[in-house]
């Protein structure tokens, strides 16, 4: 469908939300946004970690007993049975507090996750994906972040749409934060969601007085300085104008609100740690403070380096180290945010899994289904889509795609997010259809892959 800019602008009454207007349903979102009354702000929270590059799910959550998971197919990556973490309670180091059993095993680097698993608060979602898997990083990241599986160039993120629908952005511009020097696509949208990688350098130059004048809040007025310039929208129909104005306003506004966050002098609770010198730990530390001390409800962050075409590493090396860091962040936030654990959902995702067979460079290439970790006080712990070996093998196990190269998905990622949006945040069906384009149609078309897993 061709974009119709005039109609788009007209219906949005000057809210030129989507700067490009390249996609079919964007105007619909904006219309709905204007009609819908802002929902009451809830206190439910979400932290997501995007593993950029495509995490190998098969070596993270190991289908032990799938005969194809073998030293033959993974000569340099295969994890031995006595090396992996067992989830069936047979490992005396990890007695289960709740009755959770699964035949799959975890990579030993994921040990910090076991604390949450034992408590029954960790759901491991295997075999998540979408139909016609793209093996392009860029397209597939956009699919996951946009909540579509065929419109890569849409530039409003799925999480953003949820925020716009369910949280009160106009009165609380700090409802969500991207902990990244470039905003995550999932959080991109017409009302700028603030993003920064280091709260300490999120400042302007000059002393307090100079700053007040520069920002334009001197003497209580908000008409001068940056606030004056960015606050005066002019109905221009040029691309990006509104986005730029709103971003400038959000910057000035949020900068004042996060002054209290001081990662250098922070003492986490309950034995959580955020070791120095690692950017993911530093982001997690800031996330914990934001969740404790500000009205932030949704936080996104990245960890890169998962594109392990060469020397992926078995027990040591890049991949195991990164797995450990993700697991450590889960554990630390679990401990540190115990007071709000029931209101929190913590998830990890990635753009695709990897080839089930190792390649010639001791690594793996782009594949299909992914593994997601979901933790939170309201989460029903356990392993999903991997009931037992027989069930796992029904369609061919790790070589279950048509071309027998990859692990096929059983649940669409949008069903996972729909469950989070609906069960955790309370989005109704109508809202879901805005957040996840054509969601109700998709459920009707393919109830199996779009059915809820029930982890919440």
């Amino acid at each position: 469908m061709k974009p119709d800019r005039r109609d788009f602008l007209g219906s949005a009454a000057g809210v030129t939300a989507l700067t490009l207007g390249l996609n079919a349903f964007a105007p619909e979102i904006i219309r709905r946004k204007l009609i819908a009354a802002p929902p009451a702000p809830g206190k439910k929270k979400l932290v997501f970690i995007f593993q950029r590059g495509g995490m190998d799910g098969i070596n993270a959550v190991i289908p032990r007993g799938d005969p194809s998971y073998s030293k033959k197919n993974r000569p340099n990556l295969f994890i031995e049975e006595e090396e992996s973490l067992h989830l069936d309670g047979s490992d005396s180091r990890f007695p289960l507090e709740k009755e959770l059993r699964s035949f799959v095993e975890l990579h030993p680097s994921l040990e910090p996750m076991m604390e949450i698993y034992r408590a029954g608060d960790l759901a491991i979602l295997h075999r998540v994906g979408y139909r016609n898997q793209s093996r392009s990083h860029f397209d597939s990241q956009q699919f996951y972040e946009n909540g579509t599986a065929d419109q890569p160039k849409l530039d409003v993120g799925m999480i953003y749409r949820h925020i716009a629908e369910s949280l009160d952005l106009p009165t609380n511009p700090l409802a969500a934060v991207g902990l990244s020097s470039k905003q995550l696509l999932a959080l991109k949208g017409p009302r700028a969601i603030p993003n920064f990688s280091d709260v300490r350098s999120f400042r302007f130059r000059g002393d307090r007085d100079q700053n007040l004048k520069f920002v334009g809040s001197a003497g209580g007025s908000k008409k001068g300085g940056l606030l004056g310039a960015y606050g005066r929208t002019d109905g221009s129909d040029k691309p990006y104008r509104e986005a730029v104005y709103r971003t400038g306003l959000a910057l000035a506004d949020v900068m004042a609100k996060i002054r209290r966050i001081d990662p250098d002098n922070y003492e986490p609770d309950n034995g959580a740690t955020y070791p120095d010198g690692d950017s993911l730990y530093f982001k997690a530390k800031q996330a914990a403070q934001l969740l404790k001390y500000t009205p932030v409800q949704i936080i996104g962050m990245n960890i890169g380096g998962w594109d392990t075409h060469t020397k992926q590493g078995r027990l040591t090396g890049g991949y195991p180290e990164r797995l450990y860091r993700v697991a450590h962040v889960f554990q630390s936030l679990y401990r540190d945010l115990r007071d709000q654990w029931d209101d929190l959902v913590l998830i990890s995702l990635t753009e695709f899994g990897r080839t089930s067979k190792e390649n010639g460079s001791k690594g793996t290439d782009h594949g299909e289904a992914i593994v997601m970790f979901v933790a939170g006080g309201g989460v029903k712990g356990g392993v999903y889509n991997a009931p037992d070996v027989d069930g796992w093998m029904q369609d061919g196990g790790i070589f279950s795609t048509k071309n027998k190269r990859y692990l096929a998905h059983r649940t669409d990622f949008r069903a996972v997010f729909a469950e989070i949006f609906a069960k955790h945040f309370g989005d109704d069906d109508k809202t879901l259809d805005v957040v996840i384009p054509k969601y109700s149609e998709l459920v009707k078309e393919d109830p199996k892959r779009f059915g809820r897993l029930g982890f919440l």
Binding site: F196, F204, P239
Partner: protein
Amino acid sequence: MKTLAPDGPRGSGGSRWRLVVSLALACAVSAMARAGPLDGDAAALRRAGHLLNRAAFGPTLAELERVLESGTTAWIEQQLHPESIDESSNDALNRRIARLMERVVASEDRHLVRRGEIWRYRKGNGAPPRRWNARDFDDADWSAGQSGFGYGDEDDRTVLEDMRGEYGSIFIRRSFDVPAERLAALNDLVLRIRYDDGFVAFLNGVEVARRNIAGKPGTPVSHRAFAMEPHEAEGFEEIDITSRKSLLRPGGNVVALQVHNRSLDSSDLTAIPELVDRKVIPGTERLEIKGLEELKALAHIHAVYSRRQLQNVLALFWENHFTTDARKVASYLDELKNSDASDALSEAEAVKLAARLEHREFEFFREHALGNFGDLLRASARSPTMLIYLDNVLNVLGNANENYAREILELHTFGADNGYDQVDIEQLSKCFTGWGVAKCTLETAADPHGPHGVQVVDSVLVAPGDRTEASAANWRYFKGTRSPPSDWAEPGFDDARWMSGPGGFGYGDDDDATVLDDMRQRYTTVYLRKTFRVADPGKLKSLMLRIDFDDGFVAYLNGHEAARVNAPGKPGEPVGHRARATANHEAGEPETFNLDVVRDRVVAGENVLAIHVLNVSPTSSDLSSTASLIDRETLPGSIENGDPNGVIAFRFLPEAHNATEAKTLFRDSKHRIELDGRAGTRGLEEAERAIERILEHPSTPIFVCSKLIQRLVGDEIDFRHPDEGPWADLLDRCVEAWSSTEPKGDIRRVVKTILTSPEFWSERAYRAKVKDPFEYVSSTLRALDGETSGLDLPESLASMGMELFTREDPDGWPEVGSEWVDTSSFQSRIVFAQALTERGPGSNEGSAWDARRFLERHGLESADDIVGFFESLFFQGTLRDSDRQLVKTFLTTDAANRPVPLSRERSDYLRRVRNTLGYMLSLPDWHFQ
């Protein structure tokens, strides 16, 4: 369509337009801004601004004047032919570039003293004896150890564990022989040294070099002295001491150094000295980029100061289109070995070499920025940086790697899913097998079939052994259930009661000739011995241990430690029989270790190689050790990976090419092509033919022209539906221009089509693009005639979310504006504008602006002058009235919003102008172009 139609030259001389820009514009700005209609002087200014925002990195006053003088059409024509713009007299550009480059010469180096040799050393916890550095000084009671010396940064072979907090200096000596005939033939004498933090070097007792140590040359330095400032050991520094070569004499000589730390509690110290006899090869002098930061700075310098703006806009466009990550290139180079198994390059050297390879590629893109697209694609395919970055170097027969095959289609030519599928990628990756890189001489660099690398002859001193070997030739072994006598590795130890078996010890992975099936759960280490005979140790070339191991080991030659991997404790410390390897390591690919450090220990007659093999845990599923000892001779004509004279260049390696399979591309279309497997050097032709077919394919011009339109005109392009949207007609004309020449793909024609199109000059395109960080930084510096070396800009750019030459993802930095609109990058942009406008000339903090000179040169004094002038310069009269008023208020009030007159007499005059400019460059409109 409302347009800002391109125009012809205005006025005959330059004076009229100069006047308009400098004065009339400055004073009559608001009138122009309201002029609205797109003709007259105001429109001419807007047109000039538009052109410079897109075909250049933003307006400078001088460039605005040029466009207004010559008219946009002539300006475009000139920029399309960059060679017509003289840059030899562009001093601002050339002197800045010169600072980023260094002179490099090729040379033949012969070592007099090499790293890793045994030196005598003495800790600086007391004054050394007088004449400690003299030739005839008796150092017999000093300790002995291999160079380098130091602690704390893992680059030292003799680790001074007790140094930190105890003593601040060490004294080292090395005797070496120079036969008379060699002395007579000696060329240049070079001290090559990696050091942290300072040192004084002596040759036969006379000082020859001093770094980072206070005092005039020749003055004695106390053992208590500290280095003047910190100096990290990154690369080797080369110090020419040819003028002191008369100090050498035939026979025995001594090089001695005293090495000093910055402080007692410094975290590290390093001294790795070498003495080199260097013959410079005449005619090989060339200029190379100094390093990666300098390369990034170079891109900035061209953008800010070059007059060939369009060429540089496109050079960066192609660099980004064919993006590579210098860090990945560097880590590949860092792993290269020499034929003697030593590291070819230090980490710093690898980064520097990666920067040079990136630089060569970048210069090619600049030179051909307006040339033929096919030339760019072919060059990129063969560029060592691309071959490494997209893993074509790993794409070999039997182990195809799809990375490059995917991206050449998805990102370089067709666009995602636009006329190819997974099968095409798999087929294409097979075509590219055998495309790799290798070290070669400068002369043969351009020939993909030329000579390269090293040819060696290996003599096996100790064979790994095989299952059929007679027991006499077998290895002896001892299970680590208890400790063997402490001299178990010595030549004189009697191993007659040890068990014997063929080499290849271990269990659990079916790769062992002697299976230790009782090892698991019972013992974690095993001791191995093998005797071998050497007739004449003097004839040994390069001694190496090749070992396939799981999980760790310590190797000894005649009782002297020779190599150590994953073993607990420090080098030189024996390992207990109950020890475990410190890390997991899988066998499968033998590794080679240079043993030259123990070559002196080889004696005529019987010798012994001993290996203590370690498992990572008692429950580990396997253990392996298959070792051989090799004497390696390098044949003449070889070039080592670490040879600084050669280059890393594209090579086609027939043995890695899949010549047996026929490949089919684009099978169900009229572009189908069959590539029969070709053997030998002709295998190169398969991928070459595939590239030509890709260039002929209609997807290529559509995708590449779409990207050019997006860069130069507007973002509204959906690459999946390029025939839709406002630029669809323009795209048609671009594809026509692309196809109108033979060969197709003339970039100059396409760009000319774009820049002279009604779409480019349409109201819709005007100020409709968001600057990316590079454009923001460049346009800011250009508008102010700012002062920069370029070296501080990469950090600013990184804070805005962009890093040149080191993007991890192969899709290049995004072109669409929405990618750059976020709070973090806005904050960084504003801080950059604030800092730049605050810093005056001579600032050592980075890029600066000479505000006083700028104001005086343009006769600006009053608030109206200043606001009007900069508004014309920055925004060409398009700033909103409300913003103009904000700027004026900002300039004429204090921090509490009280009016304060602006006057040159006041001490706050310049500061307020500077702050106001910082504010102007933080306005919403400055993000647009």
